[in-house]
């Protein structure tokens, strides 16, 4: 593994003596994930060690495992590879089980048949597939003893590979599940296009069966991530910037766990009709009723006409939010709902879902809007630097603030599915308390970032510190590992 491919989620902050342009570029690519202002490392609940591998690196890694196994138990490499694939690449386990009962392991891995057929030794036999009489030398078969002519094998492989089957190709006999190893396929298949496809599909299968490996889900990205533990941790692909969960491969979702986020996303997709009306981008000012459009990520709104400060989510007075934010992010269930009619319960369930969905959706939108804020900040800094009003280093803190804001809001967004599925009780109360705290600080930070140039630098950095602390507290207390 090349050293620069090694990575860790909470990287060191960039040193300032590097080429500044280069530095800025790196910075953009890092998506702000390495922007740990507080340098909390040892007890950072999100830190995770992983490597980014190229296809060649992965091939080397797999081949090493195959070689080791071949040496240990003396089987052909192609068989060893399929054996490892079938046994999830647990080499030590495979070696132990092989030594204990090799034929059982081979049967369990579908590399040997449950019962072997007597091979007929006559010079001419009928191929059971094409039903032609064939000389023995053009017939071949696997450990099960079922023999077919090479033409038939070739067509069988072509049809299977066409439908993306590779490591799962079986013997052609009825009810025979013996798998065909790689070298057998490659001996028979001559068409270079089909060979390439086959090897590509095999590679995909090997990576998917390997507990330490996962393909980057980014579009057209061939990077493979390697981590020793299959945990629900954040992985950022340096090639394409995709940020995802190592355990399930979808967008990173702390503090929500893999099963819950899957359930939530399925629910959102199923209920998209119901939730459609929420996508409104305008609301009326609760005081003077002028129509207000939301064009930034911040949920602390100020009416352009009457200057009334209010909350975009609940339309409550912003002044009371500092102390009572709790009331905005927490859903208040009807305490008597168990005694209500089925109809009322269904309505209540929908109301509850929409409450959480609206907030989830709103933060997702805010994140997009904050992307624009980030672009604006970059442009403004460029202008300033061009006009000799300071250097990139002088204005770096503005970018830091915008990146941190994105990171905090991202976590905040993912607190809503967590809260939705959390059972009532003291744990939920604590979660909602911390969520409200985080929400308040994120909005404060958002407000200040949007007005960054008129905000005092110290004040802004202080706000960053508070927001990140709130985020880390929540993640540390509720991220189940």
């Amino acid at each position: 593994m090349s050293q620069e491919m090694k990575s860790q989620c909470s990287d060191e902050y960039h040193s300032s003596d590097e080429d500044m342009d280069e530095d800025i570029n790196n910075y953009y690519e890092d998506m702000g994930d390495d922007n740990d202002v507080n340098e909390i490392q040892e007890d950072d609940p999100e830190s995770f060690e992983f490597e980014l591998l190229k296809v060649e690196d992965v091939e080397r890694l797999l081949n090493e495992s195959v070689e080791t196994l071949c040496k240990a138990i003396n089987v052909a490499p192609s068989l060893a590879k399929l054996l490892l694939h079938m046994q999830k690449w647990l080499s030590t386990d495979v070696i132990a089980r092989y030594r204990q009962d090799s034929s059982k392991l081979l049967r369990d891995s579908r590399l040997a048949p449950t019962n072997v057929v007597q091979v007929c030794n006559s010079p001419f036999t009928t191929c059971p597939v094409c039903l032609q009489r064939c000389p023995a030398e053009i017939m071949s078969g696997l450990t099960c003893g079922h023999r077919f002519c090479n033409d038939c094998w070739q067509q069988h492989f072509a049809v299977q590979i066409q439908t993306a089957v590779s490591t799962g190709i079986e013997c052609m006999f009825k009810d025979c599940c013996v798998l065909v190893p790689e070298d057998f396929v490659l001996q028979i298949v001559t068409n270079p296009k089909i060979r390439d496809k086959y090897q590509e599909f095999c590679f995909r299968d090997y990576v998917n069966s390997h507990p330490e490996l996962r393909f980057c889900p980014g579009p057209n990205c061939s990077t493979v991530i390697r981590a020793t533990e299959r945990k629900a941790k954040r992985v950022v692909c340096k090639e394409c910037n995709t940020c995802f969960c190592f355990r399930c491969g979808i967008d990173y979702h702390a503090p929500t766990d893999c099963d819950t986020i899957k359930k939530w996303l399925t629910k959102c997709a199923d209920d998209s009709e119901t939730a459609n009306y929420i996508s409104a981008h305008t609301k009326d000012c609760p005081k003077c009723h002028v129509c207000i459009e939301k064009n930034g990520g911040c949920n602390h709104m100020q009416c352009s006409k009457c200057k009334h400060d209010f909350c975009w989510m609940c339309l409550g007075d912003w002044k009371t939010h500092g102390s009572e934010y709790y009331e905005c992010s927490r859903y208040k269930e009807n305490p008597n709902i168990a005694n209500e009619s089925a109809h009322a319960q269904a309505r209540e369930a929908l109301k509850k879902y929409l409450f959480y969905f609206e907030r989830w959706e709103n933060h997702a939108k805010s994140l997009q809007l904050e992307e624009q804020t980030l672009d604006n900040i970059k442009k403004r800094i460029e202008e300033k630097v061009m006009n000799n009003s300071g250097t990139w280093i002088d204005w770096q803190y503005l970018l830091d603030a915008a990146f941190l804001l994105k990171k905090c809001r991202y976590t905040l967004q993912y607190t809503y599915p967590y809260a939705y599925y959390l059972d009532k009780g003291p744990r939920k109360s604590l979660f909602e308390y911390q969520q409200a705290q985080l929400e308040a600080e994120v909005e404060n930070l958002s407000w200040k970032v949007e007005r960054a140039e008129i905000t005092d630098r110290g004040d802004l950095e202080n706000q960053m510190d508070i927001a990140e602390k709130r985020r880390l507290t929540l993640v540390r207390d509720f991220l189940e590992l």
Binding site: P128, V129, C130, L131, Q132, H146, F148, D151, C152, Q155, H156, A158, V159, Q160, E170, C171, M172, F173, K174, D175, C176
Partner: protein, 199 residues
């Protein structure tokens, strides 16, 4: 069609499908056209099943990639069975999908279908309505299946009560097959069947 597919089908006809053994099991297959891409199959309803005495016609299409891909088989004769669509005749059977093996033949397919008629798999249904009846009211299912076998497959055992209920709906101006489907679906409850046709 690929050379191997034609060769294989021709040999199947010569060596397998026309064998005495096949005749004994009461299955038959014959080509519909000269190039053997479409065949007509026949299986007899197995004894001691609601399909006993019925003759079921199958539509068999041989894909270009036969025998490396399975033949496409559908019931032409209407049948009431959890794994066969009562509407289209489509079949849910593993060997016609991912459990197909190139060494299987049309004979294997027809015999497997015959076995399917004798032992339904309601947990892997093709027709949800039929499967539900099978699981919830086996006696009702057997009656319905026998009635369909009598009407569509030429089985001799008549279900008099079913016939009279269908006649009842026919007298009211409803089309016969529509009436049969509705009655079969609603466990031969005339009122609910009518309600269903009218909505």
């Amino acid at each position: 069609m690929a050379n191997i597919a034609i060769q294989r089908i021709k040999r199947e006809f010569k060596e397998v499908v026309k064998s005495e053994e096949v005749a004994k099991c009461n299955i038959r297959v014959e080509p519909k056209n000269d190039n053997f891409t479409e065949l007509r199959g026949e299986i007899q309803g197995p004894p001691e099943t609601p399909y006993e005495g019925g003759m079921y016609i199958l539509d068999i299409k041989i894909p270009e990639t036969y025998p490396f891909n399975p033949p496409k088989v559908q019931f032409v004769t209407k049948i009431w069975h959890p794994n066969i669509s009562s509407v289209t005749g489509a079949i849910c059977l593993d060997i016609l999908k991912d459990q197909w093996a190139a060494a299987m033949t049309l004979r294997t397919v027809l015999l497997s279908l015959q076995a399917l008629l004798a032992a339904a798999e309601p947990d892997d249904p093709q027709d949800a309505v039929v499967a539900k009846q099978y699981k919830e009211n086996l006696e009702m299912f057997n009656t319905t299946a026998r009635h369909w076998a009598n009407v569509y497959a030429g089985a001799t055992k008549r279900e008099v009560e079913c016939d009279s209920k269908i006649q009842q709906l026919k007298n009211m101006g409803f089309e016969e097959h529509k009436a049969r489907v509705a009655l079969s679906t609603y466990n031969w409850n005339v009122e609910r069947a009518m309600e269903h046709i009218l909505t």
